[in-house]
């Protein structure tokens, strides 16, 4: 359980930087450094996501994450039940 929490926290950190850079780029479209960092974190997120999902099941619905058998999207805990 602790491993999963540490993993979730790492995902939260990388995704947060991406959210901040997304909003920043929306109003600073010509900022090369911000775009470069965004793409770097995006690659990092892709790798982290794959690792997380292999162990703990899909993070995204509608095909943006694959699922093992049986359908793992149903598995808890759901975000509002998660105890950190």
């Amino acid at each position: 359980m602790n491993d999963q929490l540490a993993f979730l926290n790492r995902l939260q950190q990388v995704e947060f930087a991406l959210v901040e850079l997304q909003l920043f780029l929306d109003t600073h479209k010509d900022d090369q450094r911000a775009l470069m960092e965004f793409n770097q974190y995006s690659k990092q997120l892709e790798m982290l996501k794959k690792q997380y999902e292999l162990q703990y099941g899909p993070l995204l619905n509608f095909g943006f994450s694959p699922s093992q058998y049986p359908w793992r999207w149903l598995e808890g805990p759901w975000p509002w039940e998660q105890v950190f």
């Binding site: 950190q13 947060f16 850079l21 900022d31 911000a34």
Partner: protein
């Protein structure tokens, strides 16, 4: 309609200025542009208009600190400090 020319604002971490547009007004300081199309504060301000300074990306927090603080950018970190309340002034000044 009078345009008020802003004095050149000191901007943190600015790169060398872009080529200057138009003609500088005689006796007026040069407009101070960064790498962005929009300057830190506008060169010409109008009455009855509100202006928010344009952020320049300089530094960023490490990821764990950014998540904990609520922003990736140190210049946008303005924490709540209730002890500093001074009748009329904002709590986070």
């Amino acid at each position: 309609m009078y345009d008020i020319h802003q004095p050149a604002m000191p901007m943190p971490g600015t790169r060398p200025a872009m080529p200057m547009p138009a003609m500088p007004m005689p006796g007026m300081p040069m407009p101070h542009y960064s790498i962005y199309p929009l300057p830190f504060m506008p060169y010409c301000v109008k009455m009855a208009h509100a202006y928010v300074p344009y952020q320049c990306f300089t530094n960023s927090y490490p990821l764990n600190e950014a998540l904990q603080k609520g922003t990736y950018f140190p210049e946008l970190y303005q924490p709540y400090m209730p002890e500093k309340k001074l009748g009329g002034l904002a709590d986070n000044e």
